[in-house]
Amino acid sequence: MSNKAIITENLGKRYKLGETLNFSRTIREAIVEFPRKFMSEAKRKAFEIRERKNNPDYDPETPPGTFWALRHLNLEINHSDVVGIIGSNGSGKSTLLKVLSKITIPTTGHAKVYGRVGSLLEVGTGFHPDLTGRENIFLNGSIMGMSKADIKMRFDEIVAFSEVEKFLDTPIKRYSSGMTVRLAFAVAAHLEPEILIVDEVLAVGDAAFQNKCMGKMKDVSSEGRTVLFVSHNMSAVRSLCSRGILLKNGKIVVDTTINEAISHYNDTLDEKANDAQLLWKEGEMPGDDYVQLIEAQLLSETGVNKTIFDTDEQIKIRLKYKSLKNNKDLRFAVKLSSIEGETVFQSTDQIFRNSENSGAGLYTTEVDIPNRLLNSKHYQISLWAGTPKVKRHIPEMLLFKLSVVGKVYNGSRLDDRQPWPGIVSPELKWKILKID
């Protein structure tokens, strides 16, 4: 017995695009495919080579009208790993979960799963509106794979968790949607498989209930069970998981710690990444006969240009400049302001400039804006450069517009969805003392 919970080898899932019933296409494909069935291996090779010559993208495994939702996936997950699977829409996260929970079969490769799998791709699957809450607990529980005895044993816990005691004998079509969801999650939360697969189901109910769900999920993962968790809610993923797998186009991009995976994810998220790097040509560089700005970049901790940052990420600003004179008093200043133009702060590099780094030559100067400082909102960064009492070399100019997203570190236990007030929202330490 190894310590493995899930091993996949070359796992792949191919889907057909478009209509399932397209007779003209099906017939056309059949005509094209039919002779190939009778070809010998050698002939088939020759055929493929010929095809490839005509069409450089030809791939015998990807006939037209199909795509791979997962491809060449090799994965090893150990027992009691709590793994967050992240990636943008269409990256194959849900397909992976569906394959592992046996809902759909893979096209290539295989997976070995050690232990009972409980999958939670949706809460309340099979709930029947005409049945009472009590009846639905049994129905839904057995659909999820619990035995009747299990459900009976946990019945009181489930009811208490759902907070719908009073309505247990009411048909659930009379429930509010919030009540239904609470009941559904309560059943799901009491599944006790060795391997739990969860897809984006925590986004249910009000904030207080969400919080309760998160707490329950944390309990589950700390009990030493294997959990695979998919969510777009990065703060939920971060707080639950220790390992992170980032998928893109059905392939693993990184398989590392959750924090690294999330910052990689944030890096790939940014479509305006080009706006995070400004380069000036010779002759167009801002500056004068003292200093000339060559390049300005907005970077993530991992050194990727981007303009969308998580609240838990540092923001790096790097400037590359040419100094033409020995000038220890030179100062580059960056100013961060809200998108409405209100200054948040302004900071310069002057006191870090000494006799060693102030001669003529090429330099970079960079600064990190700490994480857990900014609020979840839009900001802009501008720059100016000058030597006090001598001259302003670069007048104030707007460099970047950036967005900060994600959980606001405001001291609340809830991850409030509403905008949190304040130009910044720094993480502060409170101290609570009992004095009586």
């Binding site: 889907y15 809902i103 759909t104 893979p106 799963v113 699957t125 029947h128 005409d130 057995s142």
Partner: protein, 297 residues
């Protein structure tokens, strides 16, 4: 978790070619779910209806009245020497069971789309459970049949002990046919339109004509009638309930006597084989299509 449990539940997930057999062990593990789905179907069937389970009686009973008037009184079709009311109600009762089971079963996968795409359990449970829950209606309707037997002063014979066998033929056929239509329905929604139509035509072919009135000139070819498994089931069902009144004349010691008809043995045998074949075909077909359900439903 204990490592033993993990060892016990090693599952290999792989492409289709290698997994067409029924996993009996797994089916056994999901027996409770099977029971619960049957229970759910029964429980919700007549929710929010004014007449409730009366519908289980109304449908075959009204059908019977229409058949009696049109085919019995107007068209004067033979009814094996039985009261047309009894003849048609008995046939229609078993038929109604079959028709209900097949139509619910045929729609089970499409209606249970959420199951197919969101949760795993052996899919075979879905088309099979309606064939059991529909038995409840059958039982209710059967009470009326018994009442009718008393009303028409029809003695209940020892042959009634064979009744479960004929019902079983209907259950087996309904499962087989249900599975075929259910899996076809996933890909071709035409089934939703064709199925009621097919069932309607099939009914006339089953309930109206007793085997005894097939032209004797056809000889043994008449037994091909049993390829429709429901014809053997209905014929046998009528026989086991109404045996003592189904009389035939025979020469005995030079005298013409009326004796009860023999059991339709050969016909029932053909139908039993046919029902078993349908079940086999249904399972085979279902297992073949099963792996694509979640992707195309």
């Amino acid at each position: 978790m204990s490592k033993d449990t993990a060892d016990k539940y090693v599952q290999i997930i792989q492409p289709r070619e290698k997994q067409k057999k029924i996993d009996w062990q797994e089916l056994y593990r999901f027996r409770e779910l099977f029971g619960i789905l049957v229970w759910r179907d029964i429980k919700v069937k007549y929710k929010q209806t004014a007449l409730g389970a009366l519908w289980a009686i109304i449908v075959p009973f009204v059908h019977m009245l229409i058949f009696t008037v049109i085919f019995g009184n107007v068209a004067k079709l033979p009814t094996d020497g039985l009261h047309p009311q009894l003849f048609y109600y008995a046939g229609l009762l078993l038929w109604t069971y079959f028709a209900t089971a097949v139509s619910i079963s045929g729609a089970s996968l499409v209606n249970g789309k959420a199951f197919l795409t969101k949760i795993y359990f052996p899919r075979l449970i879905m088309p099979v459970s309606p064939t059991l829950s529909a038995l409840v209606d059958f039982t209710i309707g059967f009470v009326i049949l018994v009442a009718m037997l008393f009303y028409y002063e029809q003695a209940i014979d020892y042959t009634i002990i064979f009744l479960p066998f004929f019902v079983a033929i209907a259950v087996v056929s309904a499962s087989g046919v249900g599975m075929i239509f259910a899996s076809l329905n996933v890909k071709y929604r035409d089934v939703a339109f064709a199925l009621p139509f097919i069932i309607q035509i099939w009914m006339y072919g089953t309930v109206l004509v007793p085997f005894s009135k097939l032209p004797p000139a056809w000889g043994d070819f008449r037994y091909l009638y049993g390829l429709n498994p429901m014809s053997g089931a209905v014929e046998g069902f009528r026989w086991c309930l109404l045996h003592s009144n189904m009389l035939t004349t025979r020469m005995l010691d030079g005298k013409v006597v009326e004796i009860p008809v023999d059991p339709p043995l050969l016909l029932v045998t053909v139908s039993t084989v046919s029902a078993a074949f349908l079940l086999w075909l249904g399972i085979k077909w279902f297992k073949k299509m099963e792996s694509t359900f979640a992707d195309i439903v």
